[in-house]
Amino acid sequence: MQQREEKQLEASVDLLISRVAHLKNALNNFIYKLENEFERLAWPSVLDNFALVSGQLNTINKLLRNEKTPSFRNQVIIPLELSPDRDDELAKLTEQRVPVFSHEIVPDHLRTKPDPEVEEMEKQLSAEAARLGPEAAQKQIQTLNKLCSNLLEKLNNPREDRDPESSAIRQSKPSFNPTDTLALVGAVAFGKGLSKCRPPGPGAPGQGPMMGGGPTLQQVTIGGASGQPGKMPSSIKTNIKSASGSMHPYNR
């Protein structure tokens, strides 16, 4: 029985040590980043670091709450020997943070009760709580609960009538008109409504490009190119030859 408990204790302590080491590394990296790369640091990556630290704290908490973990409260650490001399092994173990196992470090590292200042504050708070009568305390609890539930409701159910101005704008003024989109795209793509032959608007798209193309048929000779506009370059050369033959553009 004893051995099992001891083994459990050892295993959980080891696990705790490794989790805390992860946390320490994460904090180290974060501090390094803040100190050296703060110019390039963006808020999302800071948030990521915080999230990482919080996740690791969560894991540690879960580990401590685990049923298999024996209650550490029942264990007591008593320093058997204190010396003001430097202890190299301890220094190595703690990465130079605790070089001497002496009277100064014991109150900080082996503390089980809260710090004296914290203890004072806690005493004050509990005295105040005791002074407050039970009915007043109940009323305060109820108000707090009501406030929290209101806030939660507002956050979870976005209601349109909460903000009358923005909801009115959203409903009555759509910011784009799909017919306008099609009209504009038609105008840019093939001159819908733009031809110089003056169709009244997008109503007569077919006539516009055709009428503009009429005069060109007489002047252009196509050298057997396919219908795809992409393969037209050969026909252009043909045109140039025919034009220079008849029009003498260059007088020199």
Partner: protein, 210 residues
């Protein structure tokens, strides 16, 4: 006669085939300000760029019926800048990687101010023209153009224009070499960020024709 300085993009035999990926939408005048604010936040932090361009679309009609289209564009706000000539091919169909955006083969060159005359001599006829003015935003390779289109009432006279509609045209485009599949995914996720102000989608112009 001294030739004006012209910057021409070298088009040699082994050039990369550039494709234009396009998503289009529109926004009503009332919502323009909110759209511009959002774009200023989402896009690269530069001075907001406005432009006023006059675009002429030239057609070369063949016997087969599918005309060859070239688009010539010049800036009305920077009259000394060279003209810009663009060819856009037929929309690519069917590729699983590119279905989110309209993909077309695209060729862009700069040209001198004699471009309209040259095109006329070559046999092109101007089919239609319009004036576009608005704002340009960039985000990496993505380009967002919010423009107000106006029709030119008297051909050649760009002072006398009439607005085409009460909306602004919003176009999201990327120029990329052929074969990149991630482009349309990036465009789609950017387009999501502009909803519900603008609904950017792939509008196939050939389906709208009649």
């Amino acid at each position: 006669m001294e030739a004006p300085p012209v910057s021409v993009m070298p088009v040699t035999g082994g050039s990369i085939n550039m494709m234009e990926y396009l998503l289009q939408g529109s926004v009503l005048d009332q919502a323009l300000e909110s759209l511009l604010h959002r774009l200023r936040g989402l896009c690269d932090n530069m001075e907001p760029e406005t432009f006023t361009d006059h675009e002429l679309v030239y057609l070369l009609k063949g016997q087969q019926g599918n005309p060859f289209i070239l688009r010539a564009r010049h800036s009305l706000s920077h009259p000394a800048a060279p003209w810009h000539l663009r060819y856009l091919g037929q929309p690519e169909v069917g590729d699983k990687g590119r279905q989110h955006a309209l993909v077309r083969n695209c060729l862009d060159v700069s040209a001198s101010h004699s471009l309209p005359d040259v095109l006329n001599e070559m046999g092109f006829r101007m089919d239609h023209e319009f004036v576009a003015n608005g704002h340009v935003f960039r985000r990496g390779a993505l380009k967002v153009v919010v423009s107000k289109l106006s029709r030119v009432l008297v051909p050649g006279n760009t002072e006398n224009t009439e607005r085409l509609s009460l909306s602004y045209l919003v176009e999201l485009s990327v120029l990329a070499p052929a074969g990149q599949d991630t482009v349309s995914e990036d465009m789609r996720s950017f387009a999501e960020q502009l909803k519900p102000l603008v609904h950017l989608e792939k509008i196939d112009p050939s389906k709208q024709r009649h």
